[in-house]
Symmetry: C2
Subunit: 203 residues, 2 copies
């Protein structure tokens, strides 16, 4: 029973459409998912979807706009943690949590693909990625200061590389295969001060 304009109801409907669209985009891809299909999944008409979203591209973007607050909360939760290396692993674990879900792989691929075509989408995911990168970089810097991370590493570059490795866990997704062990070993091996990697420490 929609009374008045009810802005909250509008937000709920937008959310409902975005969720259903996200499912379909992840499973089938952007181009192979028609707005009519999304409308049917929600139980409405294409025209109604276009009432809530300007066009199909903005519908896709809506799926990723919810990630920014989640990323900010994730970083806030770990940035003050006592041990920076543990905090880094916890953050990366959270980011890789969905890696086993093959539809999450599909969504990452669609995202990478469409980010090249839609500058606004690039801005949306760029903001999220920046929050994560800066949060990780801060933890890396602290780890370097405390001697737990190789001081030769550049904090920001390393943070970007860790993000790419998380993406790799999505690409390496196989059902029933948890990426955590590989991820931990990779990250610890990368961050560790050179304790035995090179036989000759420089003078």
């Amino acid at each position: 029973m929609p009374r008045r304009a009810d802005p909250e109801r509008i937000a709920q409907k937008r959310e409902q459409i975005a969720v259903e669209a996200g499912r379909l985009f992840a499973a089938q891809g952007y181009d192979r998912t028609s707005v009519a299909e999304v409308a049917k999944a929600v139980g409405t008409s294409p025209a109604s979807v276009f009432y809530y979203f300007e066009d199909k591209a903005s519908l896709f973007r809506a799926v990723f706009e919810r990630d920014l607050p989640a990323a900010e909360a994730l970083i806030a939760r770990h940035v003050e943690a006592p041990d920076p290396v543990t905090a880094i692993l916890d953050v990366l674990d959270a980011l890789a949590r969905d890696a086993a879900d093959p539809s999450a792989s599909g969504m990452l691929i669609e995202l990478l693909r469409r980010a090249g075509d839609d500058p606004e989408l690039l801005a949306v995911v760029g903001r999220t990625a920046n929050v994560l990168r800066e949060g990780l970089a801060a933890l890396i810097s602290r780890g370097i200061t405390e001697g737990a991370i190789d001081p030769d590493l550049d904090a920001t570059e390393t943070a970007a590389w860790l993000q790419a490795i998380v993406d790799a866990t999505y690409l390496n997704a196989r059902p029933g295969h948890s990426p955590h062990i590989e991820l931990h070993r990779t990250v610890l091996g990368y961050l560790n001060p050179p304790q035995g990697r090179q036989e000759e420490p420089n003078g």
Copy 2:
């Protein structure tokens, strides 16, 4: 001057079309590249393209069919190398060589995306990936035997993970940024026997 059936000329034309198609697919994506566009780039008509390729999907697959012999040659060149760890790094370097080229990133993304929709494409790239994985696994096994690689690692699983890390270098591509340093550090840190990663070796 096309005399007779001239099977060699057919192969050349197919190659020419596949090369041009590859360029466009990498730059714009599969769905956003029409066969008409490919035809124009080659200087011919859409009908002529369909004379050489059954359909658009097979045109896309042709781009990746050339990778199998290249992969076999790459593995053959390194599988007998004296130092297995160096050989692994050399193979991965070769695979990551194009990672700086942004259009190569685009092609990887299109490949991942279409492999889910085209079983024949999945088979084509699967054969190439298997050759690389088995070659790397053989090198890893030898490295374990020689004591240069952690014996707790599973050779095949590790090979698959190294392939995923190579993919990560493509995703982390930025102009003027060479992935080799990160790649080497990551791989060596991952393969190394636990010399200082854990303070307590198990009894």
